[in-house]
Structures are given as structure tokens and as C-alpha cells.
Symmetry: C2
Subunit: 162 residues, 2 copies
């Protein structure tokens, strides 16, 4: 199980747009070149991001893309869900198997269960919630901030060396 390359491209593209915030639109050409991916493929991804309201686009000369919201309001989870879809990490394909009856089995004449959710799924959903919470807490701005922090650290260490 692994996130697709598309997600990778999308995240990096958004960061690139964020770095140019407020100045100008960025066309697919420089964007694709900067990420090292073909224009045709990246344009598909950008379209998705546009349809879901993460970026705006302008056609024609001087056109291109820009963020539709401030970087602080674009979470990693947002981006992932747009590209990968809002699907659950785990789906139990066994729901009508004997297995789940044994989980809850009282006497055979037991009434229909209220707890009809797979116990494995309960755990897996918990895991996904952990991850989602983390991804919701990190935004494009987070990366920008870290990049700035790294840069200033670099500079000071270089000054120390000299």
C-alpha cells in the first residue's frame, strides 16, 4: 500500500504555487518542468485540484494556476483526499462470513446484532483516524514554515563556520 505519484506531484505543485502567492499565475509549463514531470500528466492532476476548489485556473495568455485558499487552509488530508479519493483504508470483505457470527455468538437464537461492525475494521478505522488527524494538522503553510526554518539554520551555521 502506497500513496500514488499523483499525490506526490499534487503536494509539490501546491507548495510551488504557495511560494509564488499573490505575485503571478504559474503556467503548467514551468510547473511541470520544476517538478520533473510531463505537462500533459500534471495538467490532469491540476484539473482535479481545480474541480475540488484547491486552485484556480486562468486560460489564455498570461494564464496559469494559483491557490484558491491561503496555504494555511490547505491541509495534507485535503490534497490526499482529492487525489486518492475519500475511500477508507480498510474494507472488510467478510461481513457475511461465519467469522463475524462467532465474534458475537451467544446462543444461536440470539437476536439481530446491534454491534454488526467487524472488530478488525474497528481497529483499522482507529488507525486511519490517527493518521487523518495528523494529516489534518499539517498544511502547505507548515512546509513553508519549515523550509524557512531550515534556511535560517543553514545561514547561521554557515556564519559560524566563517
Amino acid at each position: 500500500m502506497q500513496y500514488s505519484k499523483s499525490t506526490d506531484y499534487a503536494l509539490h505543485a501546491l507548495i510551488h504555487l504557495a511560494q509564488a502567492e499573490g505575485r503571478e499565475n504559474i503556467g503548467i509549463k514551468p510547473l511541470a518542468h520544476s517538478l520533473g514531470v510531463s505537462e500533459s500528466y500534471l495538467s490532469k492532476i491540476m484539473s482535479k485540484l481545480r474541480q475540488d476548489g484547491l486552485v484556480r485556473s486562468v486560460t489564455g495568455v498570461k494564464g496559469g494556476y494559483e491557490l484558491a485558499r491561503p496555504p494555511r487552509d490547505i491541509t495534507f488530508l485535503d490534497v490526499i483526499q482529492v487525489i486518492e479519493g475519500r475511500q477508507e483504508l480498510y474494507v472488510c470483505s467478510n461481513l457475511d462470513s461465519k467469522q463475524h457470527r462467532t465474534y458475537f455468538a451467544g446462543p444461536d437464537e440470539a437476536p439481530p446484532q446491534r454491534h454488526d461492525q467487524c472488530l478488525v475494521k474497528r481497529v483499522m478505522d482507529g488507525a486511519q483516524q490517527q493518521m487523518d488527524r495528523y494529516l489534518r494538522g499539517h498544511t502547505i503553510q507548515t512546509v513553508l514554515d519549515e523550509a524557512a526554518a531550515v534556511r535560517s539554520e543553514e545561514c547561521s551555521s554557515r556564519r559560524t563556520q566563517a
Copy 2:
């Protein structure tokens, strides 16, 4: 992105074995039947679990599978890593793109970076760690316990009704 059906089968199979702990080996036939999956396919999965030391197997008449460790020592993460492989959830395919140079870009004559890790990857690795920690904290025994809890709750509510 989604966990494979194989992971689903593996988890349910292990729970099944755990429920029969210490009594007898369980053959592929009843196991597959109980999960609602073909014997041939499940046997591949069981082989993997054996190769990685999660179950033991005996061939021949009266053969079958049993857990190789107590249920408390088989974590969800163990099972997932055996089936899905120990791969990282996120791989940055852009490492040599302009993008990462702009993250850290001081003056162009800057020395080779120590912080050569993608900042996007840093976030994504953090997310995976959150999930892994959760999955490491839940075991086959966890499910057994919850199943018991649900059962007793069912019983008591049935008693109350009567």
C-alpha cells in the same frame, strides 16, 4: 490507497486460529470456508504468514495451522507488514527536482545540504508513524478481548429484557 484483501483474510484467519488456541490445528479447508475465500488463494497467504513466523504448519493427515506466538504478541502492524511488505507509505519521486533546491536555497554557492530530506516526506513519515504506533498497540488478543466484551454485554442486555 487501500489495504489489500489479502491483509483482510490474514487478519481474520489469525483470529480464527487464536480462537482455537491449544486445542487443535486448523486445516486450510475449514479456514477458507469460514472466511468465504478459496482454499488455493488463502493457502498462499498462510504460507507467507508461516515464512514470517506468525503461524506454524503441519502437513499430512491431521495437519493444519496454529499460531506460532501467543495472540498478545501478534500485532496488527506485524500482520500488515508481512502481507503488504515493509514499504513506506510515501515515496518522494522528485528528489532531484528544482523544487527541493528552492526549499533549502541559500545563495547558489551553498555547500551540500545536510537536510537533504524532502519536507513533504517528513510530514508524510510523521503520519505513518502515528498510524504504525496505533497498529503496534493493537493485537490479535485485543480483538479477542473486545469480542468477549461485546458478548457479555449482549447477554446482560438480553437478561434485562427478559
